[in-house]
């Protein structure tokens, strides 16, 4: 099943008198089990596109199908539950809850999904291990470095085994080396767990790691290509 399928999707922002067409009749299919990178300059519409795919925003026109579901008609609550079940998010600013420990941050989606305590413990430990923070579960985000925080965020995005993980510029707030290790980690986990990950970036190094690439400019997809590895 295709994790994402967009048909003629448009999104217009209204700024006082001006209309900004952030996405212009975009059609896009993302194949399952890929590490897909959306590239484009700043302001090209990457965030807008990821927001629509992540079902946290609605298009003005066109059809969005995620994990086989047309999400248009779903209510706000149904969409929330849908995201909780099928989608994981990694943010540019990590967006961890500062009052929760690394362990609790990772556990949070499982609480939303009403997973039993023993199973929660097992999955959180597994993910802490997988992102190399087995010893830092008790640390608050404030006690972690940027790279460590993003690892916690990656673990949080994966813990409920979603079909799709979306990462909007996950390395923009990290130095080059840390960013590279984060991308490598995401790619490894994507392969190990068979999840589909979509990353947006304007960094060519990130794009180099992609199984599939989508190039976007001024709200239009200008090119997309599949790497041989996929």
């Amino acid at each position: 099943m295709q994790p994402v399928s967009l048909r003629n999707v448009s999104k217009v922002y209204h700024l006082d008198a001006v209309e900004v067409a952030a996405l212009n009749a975009v059609s896009l299919d993302i194949e399952a089990g890929r590490f897909t990178v959306i590239s484009g300059p700043s302001g090209s519409g990457k965030t807008t596109l990821l927001n629509l795919i992540g079902c946290i925003d609605r298009p003005d026109r066109g059809e969005v199908v995620v994990a086989g579901q047309a999400v248009q008609a779903m209510t706000d609550d149904a969409l929330s539950d849908f995201r909780a079940r099928h989608i994981g998010f990694v943010f540019q600013n990590f967006n961890l809850l500062p009052v929760l420990s690394a362990y609790e941050n990772i556990e949070y989606p499982l609480l939303l999904g009403k997973v039993a305590p023993a199973e929660r413990r097992r999955r959180v430990r597994d993910l802490l291990d997988a992102v190399g923070l087995a010893e830092r579960g008790d640390s608050r985000p404030g006690q972690l470095s940027g790279g460590q925080r993003q690892r916690v965020a990656i673990a949080r995005a994966l813990v409920h085994a979603p079909a799709l993980v979306l990462a909007d510029e996950p390395t923009a707030n990290l130095d080059r080396q840390t960013g590279a290790s984060i991308i490598a980690l995401m790619h490894t986990l994507q392969q190990e767990r068979g999840v589909s990950i979509v990353v947006s970036s304007h960094d060519p190094h990130v794009q180099a790691a992609a199984d599939a690439s989508v190039f976007i400019r001024d709200g239009l997809i200008v090119a997309s290509k599949e790497e041989a590895a996929a």
Binding site: N51, G54, I56, D57, D76, D77, S80, D81, F82, R83, A84, R85, I87, F89, F91, N93, N95, L97, P98, V99, L100, Y108, P109, L111, L112, G113, R156
Partner: protein, 471 residues
């Protein structure tokens, strides 16, 4: 999300900005303490008044219809001659007997008391009562008040013994004789007639004649002997020679200046002479004020069936003492005003705290929503924080109020209420006052929740992408 995780998250969020949370809590603690202390003070005053009224005149009184409104100065027209039978019926009634502490008759009369040795006379409001019974009523103390009521020393004293208010004692120039404390004798102007030192100088002829008639049968005049002039049932004046055995501070000055208590038989002799003795009221004192409705209903039925020909009515202590209701209303409106003021202040303080929290945590709200928390989950999160704040604030306010109440109650502070002639201990009843405690705390938590409602709603209504873009 489970309740434990929600509560723990709410608590941690409150601890996040300790200074702000503490300031908010402080507003709640000060507000709740003020409400509880004033409420406790109000309760103490009302319980005190009620205790006083119930001790003096019982919970319920049986009077002849119209006496309370129109007959106060006319005991003859409004007498209840059947009073012994009525009291006997009450005491033997299966329903009433267990409720009633005392059922006792009394006769109110107006007259003029004269200390003719000093050449002064004054109007008095006298009450004739059965000393043993009315003393038993004075022992009523269902609310554990500091009781100022002392038994009347009339029991066991002579039939002509009377007790008067200390104000009346002063006016009759009996301070020295009765050794009334803090009693300043009337000044020179008031003393003018007394200085003449003429026996019976101020008394009218006919009164003197009556007085002489009485005196003939009495032991020799002592200095505390006074004459009491009253109108008899027939309308003619009658005089009794009385012995003042004590002056008693009645609290309220207006009463203190007029009060006289005597034996019922003495009062009846003054009013009815050799005729059929009657009373103006039968007072019923119950074990507990809460028994009033039941007692009243049974009493009404009893009077209706056993004494259908007597035009009687039942009056409760609130009706008999309008001051009780007026004080209740006055204190109630003051309490309402204070509570409202504090409620509004707390409302805005918490509203402001919660709004700031929502603003500061906008990105977090967007994140939680993106991860899959529903709008209602966001609302619940902030309401839970408010609830926690309200609960902690209420608990702290309660402890603070109880502590201050204890200090006040052990401080020995006194206060002289307006119109009273001696000081009362200032006491606040917080701990024992369950309705006040429950009401204030529920109210405080209610206000907390109400003030958090709008910020929580706003947080829940945020668009996810807008919230996430908020840096």
């Amino acid at each position: 999300m489970n309740a434990r995780a929600l509560l723990s998250l709410a608590l941690r969020n409150l601890l996040r900005n300790r200074r702000r949370s503490l300031a908010t809590l402080l507003a709640m603690v000060v507000g709740l303490t003020a409400i509880l202390l004033f409420g406790g003070y109000r309760a103490n005053i009302l319980y005190g008044m009620q205790t006083g009224f119930v001790q003096q005149s019982g919970h319920l009184q049986i009077q002849r219809r119209g006496y309370f409104l129109d007959g106060g100065d006319n005991p003859t027209a409004y007498g209840i001659a059947d009073y012994r039978k009525i009291i006997a019926a009450i005491r033997s009634d299966n329903t009433l007997a267990p409720l009633v502490v005392e059922a006792t008759p009394s006769l109110r009369l107006g007259g003029i008391a004269g200390n003719f040795t000093a050449g002064v006379s004054r109007s008095v409001m006298a009450i004739g009562l059965v000393p043993e019974e009315s003393n038993r009523m004075l022992a009523w103390n269902d609310y554990d008040m500091v009781s100022y009521a002392r038994p009347l020393p009339l029991a066991g004293a002579g039939a002509d013994a009377v007790v008067i208010g200390s104000g009346l004692a002063r006016k009759l120039q009996l301070c020295a004789v009765l050794a009334v404390p803090d009693c300043r004798q009337a000044s020179a102007a008031g003393d003018a007639p007394a200085t003449k030192n003429a026996t019976d100088a101020g008394a009218p002829e006919d009164v003197l004649a009556l007085s002489a008639l009485e005196k003939a049968q009495q032991p020799p005049a002592a200095q505390n002997r006074i004459e009491m002039l009253a109108a008899t049932a027939g309308g003619a004046p009658n005089v009794a020679s009385l012995v003042v055995i004590e002056a008693k501070n009645m609290g309220i000055k207006a009463i203190d200046d007029l009060y006289m208590a005597m034996n019922l038989s003495q009062a009846q002799k003054l009013i009815y002479g050799a005729g059929v003795p009657a009373v103006t009221a039968i007072a019923l004192q119950l074990h507990h004020t809460a028994q009033m409705p039941a007692a009243r209903a049974r009493l009404a039925a009893l009077l209706e069936s056993e004494f259908p020909d007597e035009p009687l009515e039942l009056l409760d202590f609130q009706t008999l003492n309008p001051m009780y209701g007026q004080t209740d209303q006055f204190m109630g409106s003051m309490f309402g005003f204070i509570a409202m003021l504090i409620g509004v202040i707390v409302l805005f303080t918490i509203g402001n705290t919660m709004s700031t929290a929502v603003m500061e945590r906008t990105t977090e709200i967007g994140t939680l929503r993106a991860i899959g928390l529903r709008r209602s989950g966001i609302r619940r999160l902030f309401m839970c924080e408010a609830l926690l704040l309200g609960a902690i604030g209420s608990a702290a306010g309660l402890v603070c109020a109880l502590g201050i109440a204890w200090l006040i109650n052990h401080s020995g502070w006194t206060w002289t209420p307006p119109g009273y002639s001696y000081a009362y201990l200032i006491l606040v009843r917080v701990g024992q006052n369950t309705p006040l405690l429950v009401g204030s705390i529920v109210g405080m938590i209610g206000v907390t929740m109400a003030s958090a409602w709008w910020p929580a709603r706003r947080a829940a209504k945020l668009e996810i992408v807008d919230a996430l873009r908020h840096a």
